[in-house]
Point group: C2
Chain length 340, copies 2
DNA sequence: TTGTACGCGTTATCAA
DNA sequence: TTGATAACGCGTACAA
């Protein structure tokens, strides 16, 4: 049955509206917009004029429905207020934007249940690909993902079994490297401050333990772990408590720079000499680390590159290719500064 | 003609697949998921089991297409690495999430052309509502928006003509208030540091000028404006240059806290006494302001509340209601601390 | 409570 | 270069 145009109050213009105005068929308008070279220049110009005049905007839902390609990538990250993931997003965007992929950002809030809920919701957009943070997704998520045959790349960490596509670096190796640096500098009572205790923090803690155990001086009672959200204030209160409970500590490995900046502030306000009385190290090398007083020793993480490489790998997978290397280790750099 | 199911390799499960498995019609499955109370419990349970077994995920495109409601809201912000907008997003999310609206985040990068491009792209999702940052959208954007009859709420600033829906506070009044605070403290040669020079920064500058002009001591040559991106490093280099060019300045109004923290760092490293030799003030009251040495005087901005209120207003508009108050002034607070 | 018929706006396919 | 036709997967309207 031929289409009979409905007389609704004022709906958005469609391809048919543009086609009617120009006096061509809808498919010609579609081609004028998507494959302009396949439409004569005269017609094309009249079509583009009509598109402007009517304020026509293509309807992505219709396109997705019929072409079964959404040109959409879902990215799940734990937090929007953490520079690390924003930098990663920038890398992702720089790769996908030129290819006209839309990015749907999901903020999991470091919450596994929420991550699973978000994923299910976002799957309804029929994304062409998915980028996930970390590798500790629940079995439920794995099941959904396996059924849908949508390419997935994991960011930040590495898969010990190398069974999934992933781009990142060894958080544990980085934790060990930073701890060894402290040991080399002569510190013996090295504390570890961990907040939020997500996958990556716990891997850094594992690296810390490993290095101290190898040196034969690991002590469980020099670890302060809290599920609280990280922040400068938290770092300040943690060092206050730690110095009271274990005054012998002479160095602190903070699981991120925010905590470390809090420790530095506390030391400055309380006349604790850094790095003489206490060495302080952070993780990530945020903007503030190089500007702190004293400047902060930390681990520089390749987060922009991780986003960039993960998106590139995903692009490859979405084109039906198999990446040569399913696991990319982008490594890290020890940034030694005044605080140690 | 009745639908004939295609035999494709392995597509995602559809309502029909679930229906076939259970032995009911597709519409019954649809009802079981959307209005469960209208389906008998026995059938519903079998349907839910089949949904799980098949890994069925509803197709949003199809739903949007047929119902002409996308349950989607587009939010355009200038930057993801600025805490201000992340906090705003949190407020938006807390309102829209419970109503099952999806948020599409567009990052304009403080670029008007990019904002317009992004908007056009995102309009293809047929959003039910739009949240924009600021009020300086191009004429092109206004035209598109007017044609589509999609509710729009502007965030952060206020419309002088009160012709558009907006939630924010007067950036100019805040700039004036902070400047008056410096004058009250006895500072006379008050400099202004502006970076990136977006709409809001220029309004703060206008407030700064207004206050100094009212005091009869405005000097054009104490303004340092740069289109560069803001940052701690930039603040440090700006104060270095300013002190060299105009050694008489005794206070600095930085257009945001990042610049101000850079100024503080520079002063600390160069033995410049704050606030005795130089007063320093920022804008926004970020986490670091209260932890700086000395603590930083700044303007606390209600950014979470702005997001919350803007989303609430949009929700109202999307339901077809007309908000009682089209313009909400959420005001600001002067946070006086040690640096002044 | 359940089902049938139809169309949402677009593109793939095939034909002219 | 252009067009006719048929889907894509779902919800609305109506019927049983």
């Amino acid at each position: 049955m031929p289409r009979k145009p409905k007389e609704r109050a004022s709906r958005a213009a469609t391809l048919h509206d543009v086609a009617a105005q120009v006096g061509v068929s809808a498919i010609t308008v579609s081609r004028a917009l998507n494959t302009p070279e396949r439409v004569s220049e005269a017609v094309r110009e009249r079509i583009l004029a009509a598109v402007d005049a009517l304020g026509y905007v293509p309807n992505r839902s219709a396109r997705t429905l019929v072409s079964s390609r959404s040109q959409t990538v879902v990215v799940l990250i734990p937090s929007l207020s953490n520079t690390v993931f924003i930098d990663t997003l920038a890398g992702i965007n720089d790769v996908l934007d030129p290819h006209h992929y839309q990015i749907l950002i999901g903020n999991t809030g470091y919450d596994d249940a929420r991550e699973e809920r978000l994923l299910r919701t976002y799957l309804s957009h029929a994304p062409d690909g998915i980028l996930l943070t970390g590798l500790r997704q629940s079995d439920g998520m794995r099941t959904w993902l396996d059924k849908l045959h949508i390419p997935v790349v994991h960011m930040m960490g590495l898969d010990p079994q190398a069974q999934r596509y992933c781009v990142g670096f060894s958080q544990q190796a980085a934790g060990a490297a930073l701890t060894q640096h402290l040991l080399q500098r002569g510190y013996r009572n090295v504390a570890f401050f961990g907040a939020r205790l997500d996958e990556r923090v716990m891997q850094r803690a594992a690296g810390y333990r490993q290095a101290l155990q190898e040196a034969g001086i690991y002590r469980e009672d020099l670890e302060w772990l809290t599920p609280e959200h990280s922040g400068i204030g938290l770092g300040a209160s943690m060092i206050a408590k730690a110095l009271q409970q274990r005054p012998e500590i002479d160095a602190v490995f903070c699981c991120n720079d925010d905590l470390a900046l809090g420790v530095l502030t506390y030391c400055q306000r309380n006349g604790i000499a850094v790095p003489q009385r206490l060495a302080v190290a952070g993780f990530n090398d945020l903007d503030g680390a190089a500007w702190a007083t004293p400047t902060l020793t930390t681990i520089r993480t390749p987060r922009y590159d991780i986003g960039h490489a993960a998106a590139s790998m995903l692009l490859d997978l979405m084109s039906g290719n198999t990446p040569a290397e399913p696991m990319q280790d982008l490594s890290f750099t020890l940034q030694a500064r005044e605080s140690t």
